[in-house]
Symmetry: C2
Subunit: 438 residues, 2 copies
C-alpha cells in the first residue's frame, strides 16, 4: 500500500486498520515514508480523527517500533510519574527518591525543556557532572543499586515518536488527544512499568489550558495505560501560576534539595504538596501501600528521617554528579548573577498570571529552549514572591529575575511585569489539585 493511498483513506474519513497503522509507523522508522507524507497524514488525522481503537493501534505500533525495558529481575514494583509539562514543574526530583525510599523501582525516562516548559534532564545537568545519557545497562545497574535512575530517551525507545513529534511541532498538529496519548504512552509503556501516575496540567502555563481539555486528555491517558496492563491514574493539577518558588534549572534543583532537606520555604510548599500527592498514588497503585493516609505516613517518614535526601545523594553519586549539592544547596545558585526585581505597577490583588508568558520570558534569557537545538544557561531563573490571590502594593516585588546582566534584564522585565494581572477585588486562591482521574 503506497503512502498516498493510506493518506487518502484517512483524508476521506475512513478508519485505518491495525495493519495500515503498522505500515505507517514502519514507514516512519525505515524512512520509506517521506516527512511530507507523514505530516500530511498527521493533518488528516488531526482533522478527520482517530477513534479509540485506532488510538490504541497507533500507541501499540509506536511502542513496538522500538525496544521495551525489562526490570522484572529487580524484585520490586516498577512505577513512574509523567507530567504534561509546566513552569516551575520540578516534582520528578522529589518523587523519584521518595518513591525509591518507599520500595518502588523508578525507571524514569525524561525529556528536555521545549517552549515555555522546562525539562527534567536540563535541570539535572545543572548538578556538576550529572550524566543523563545512561546506557541501558547503566540505567539498569543504577536502578538495582539505589531504586531509581533518571535518563534521556535513547534512540531505541519508541523511535517513531521522535520523528512524529518533531513534525507535529512544526505543522500545528500537536494539540490532538489521540496523537498526544500515543506519543506519551508509547514512551512510558516502554519502561516496563507496573504503575504510572500522570500529572496533567491545566491553566495558563499548561499545554492544555482549558480544564475540560485537560480532563479529556487525562481520561484518555488513564484508559490507555490500563488497556495496556499498567495501573494508571492521573492528577489534574493547576498550572495557572508557576509551581513553587523557582523557575529555571539550577534554581529548581535548589528548591528540590531544600525540600528534601526539610527546609522548604512557604513558596516551596505547593511543590512538596504535589510531589507527595503523586508519590502517594504511585505507592498505592504499586501495592506497597493500602491507602492515601498510609502512603502519606511512609512519605513523611522518608522525608523527615532524611532518607529521601540520602537516596538522592546516592543517585547523584551513581550518575556521576557532585553530591555536595545535598549538603550545600546554595552552591547551585550562581552568586555572580544580576538580580532584578519585578515590581507591581499598581496596588490591588494578583488576579491572574500568564504563566506561559512568564515561562517564555525565562526561555528568552536562556532558561529554556525555543528550538530543540538551542543551548540553555542553567543558572538563570526566576523566584516568585506573589501568587494569585495575594495582595500587592504598587512598587512591591512580584518576583526576582536572576540573569547575566542588566542589559539582559531590561527587555524581559516588562514581559514579566505584564504577565501579572492586578485587580481591585480579591480573587479566590488557586486549588493546586483539581481532580483525580482513576
Amino acid at each position: 500500500m503506497r503512502p498516498q493511498d493510506l493518506i487518502q483513506k484517512k483524508r476521506d474519513g475512513e478508519k485505518l486498520s491495525k495493519d495500515e497503522i503498522n505500515i505507517f509507523i514502519k514507514g516512519v522508522c525505515d524512512e520509506t515514508w517521506a516527512n511530507y507524507q507523514i505530516s500530511a497524514l498527521l493533518m488528516a488525522i488531526f482533522l478527520r480523527g482517530l477513534d479509540k481503537e485506532e488510538q490504541n493501534f497507533l500507541t501499540a505500533a509506536m511502542l513496538e517500533s522500538g525496544e521495551t525495558l525489562d526490570f522484572s529481575g529487580v524484585g520490586k514494583p516498577k512505577a513512574d510519574k509523567h507530567s504534561t509539562g509546566g513552569v516551575g514543574d520540578k516534582t520528578s526530583l522529589i518523587i523519584a527518591p521518595l518513591a525509591a525510599c518507599c520500595g518502588i523501582a523508578v525507571p524514569m525516562i525524561s525529556g528536555r525543556g521545549l517552549g515555555h516548559t522546562g525539562g527534567t534532564l536540563d535541570k539535572l545537568e545543572s548538578i556538576s557532572g550529572y550524566n543523563v545519557n545512561l546506557t541501558t545497562e547503566k540505567f539498569h545497574e543504577i536502578i538495582e543499586k539505589c531504586g531509581f535512575a533518571m535518563t534521556g530517551q535513547t534512540a531505541k525507545i519508541a523511535p517513531a515518536d521522535k520523528t512524529i513529534y518533531a513534525l507535529r511541532d512544526a505543522t500545528a498538529t500537536v494539540p490532538y488527544i489521540p496523537l498526544i496519548v500515543a506519543s506519551i504512552m508509547s514512551k512510558k509503556l516502554a519502561e516496563g512499568l507496573d504503575a504510572l501516575v500522570l500529572d496533567v496540567k491545566t491553566g495558563s502555563g499548561a499545554f492544555m489550558q482549558k480544564f475540560e481539555d485537560s480532563k479529556r486528555l487525562a481520561q484518555a491517558l488513564v484508559k490507555t495505560g490500563n488497556n495496556f496492563g499498567v495501573k494508571t491514574e492521573a492528577v489534574i493539577s493547576e498550572m495557572s501560576q508557576p509551581l513553587g518558588k523557582y523557575v529555571g534549572n539550577a534554581t529548581e534543583v535548589y528548591e528540590c534539595i531544600r525540600i528534601l532537606r526539610n527546609e522548604a520555604e512557604a513558596e516551596m510548599l505547593p511543590t512538596l504538596e504535589l510531589a507527595v500527592e503523586l508519590t502517594a498514588r504511585m505507592l498505592i497503585l504499586s501495592g506497597v501501600s493500602g491507602s492515601i493516609s498510609d502512603s502519606r505516613l511512609q512519605i513523611s517518614n522518608c522525608l523527615e528521617s532524611g532518607k529521601a535526601l540520602e537516596k538522592f545523594r546516592e543517585n547523584i553519586e551513581l550518575q556521576g554528579g557532585d553530591p555536595r549539592v545535598c549538603d550545600e544547596p546554595e552552591m547551585l545558585l550562581d552568586k555572580s548573577l544580576y538580580k532584578f526585581e519585578i515590581v507591581a505597577n499598581k496596588s490591588g490583588f494578583v488576579s491572574e498570571i500568564d504563566t506561559c508568558a512568564l515561562g517564555n520570558a525565562i526561555v528568552g534569557i536562556g532558561g529554556g529552549r525555543a528550538r530543540a537545538e538551542d543551548a540553555i544557561d542553567p543558572a538563570v531563573g526566576y523566584a516568585c514572591e506573589k501568587y494569585v490571590g495575594d495582595e500587592i502594593r504598587s512598587g512591591e516585588t512580584l518576583g526576582i529575575l536572576f540573569c547575566r546582566n542588566e542589559n539582559q534584564a531590561h527587555p524581559i522585565s516588562e514581559k514579566l511585569q505584564n504577565a501579572y494581572k492586578i485587580s481591585e477585588s480579591q480573587p479566590q486562591k488557586i486549588e493546586l489539585i483539581r481532580e483525580i482521574i482513576q
Copy 2:
C-alpha cells in the same frame, strides 16, 4: 508569521488573507517552508477548503512567484488551449498550427505524460531532433516567425507550482478544485494570453471522472481566467474512451499529421472534431472570427489548402525537428515493432472502456511514465479499432498493441482485453462534446 501559525489558522477553518497566502508561496519558493509544512497546509486546505477569494489569491501568488511572458510586440491576439489530460489526447499538435494559420499567436507551454495520461512534450520528441526545451528568447523568436511554438515549462514560470504539485501527488491532495485551478491557471496566465480555451475531460480516462466534478472544475477555471482578464471558455469532452485512433507518442504524432494531410481515417475523426471545436472557440475569443460557422470555414480552408500542414512543417524546422515526417508520416511508425491483436472474448457490443486502465497498460510498456523520472519508449503504442457502441464478435480485433516483443505483450494483453466491457444490448454511442462552459 511562522509556518505553523499559518497552518494552524487553516487547520481551524479560518480564512487566509492575501498576505498570508503570499507568505506561504514565498516560503515555498525560497524554501523557508519545509516540504512537510507545505504538505500539512495542503491537507488542511483540502479538508477545510479555500473560498473563491482565497483561490484567486493563491492563483495570483503562484503566478507572481515567477516570470510572465509578454508577447505584446507580436501584433496578434495571443491564445492557447489547455487540456486536463487524457488517453490519446493529441489535439494540441493540430490546434497550434491551425490557430496560427488563422492569425493567432500560440505560445504553448506543455507538460510531459504522468500516470495514465500522455504529454505533448513526449509526443513532440518522437519527431527526430525536435527541441522542446526552448529558451524564452527562442520561444519568442519562433512565435514571431511561424505563429506558434511548443515548449516545456521553464523553472522561471510559476516555480511554486512545481514544488506544490509534486507534494500533492505524493500526499493525496490532488483532486481538490481550488488547488487544481491555482496550479493550471498560474501557469496558463503566465503566458500573457488574450484568450484561453480549456478542454476539461470527463469519464473513465479523465482526471475527474464524474461529469458533475468536471463541470465544477470547468466553471472554476473559466471564472478564474476571466477574473484575471483572459477571455476563457471550457469544452467538457468525453474521455470514457481513447480520443481518436492511436495511444502512444510517435503513433499519436502520426495520427495528427495524417489529419493535417487531410488523410484522416474514420477512427481519427473524433480527434479532428475536437481539435476543430477547440480551435474555433479560440478564434472567436481572440476576435479573429465572429461566429462558430465562420471559424469552421476558416479552419477547413487552412486544412484543405494544406496551409496547416505547412505551418506545422515550418514549426518543426524552427524547433530543430525533421520536417520529412510531414511528407512521410509512416517514418514515425517503427516497422520493427511487434504487433499483437487484442481480441474480444465474447460477442456483443462494447458497452464500456476502462480508459484509465488502458492508458496504464500502455504506460506499463514504456508508452508513458508511472513516475516523473521514468524514461519513455516513444515508439510503442496502441491502435483502437472498436469504440463504445460498436458491435463485436468473439475473436474479432478490439485494437492492436505495438510493443517491443512477445514477452512484453503477454502481461498487458489481458489488461487491455479486460479494459473492454462487452454487453448483450447495444449502448448509446458517446457524444464527444458534452458541454460548453462560458
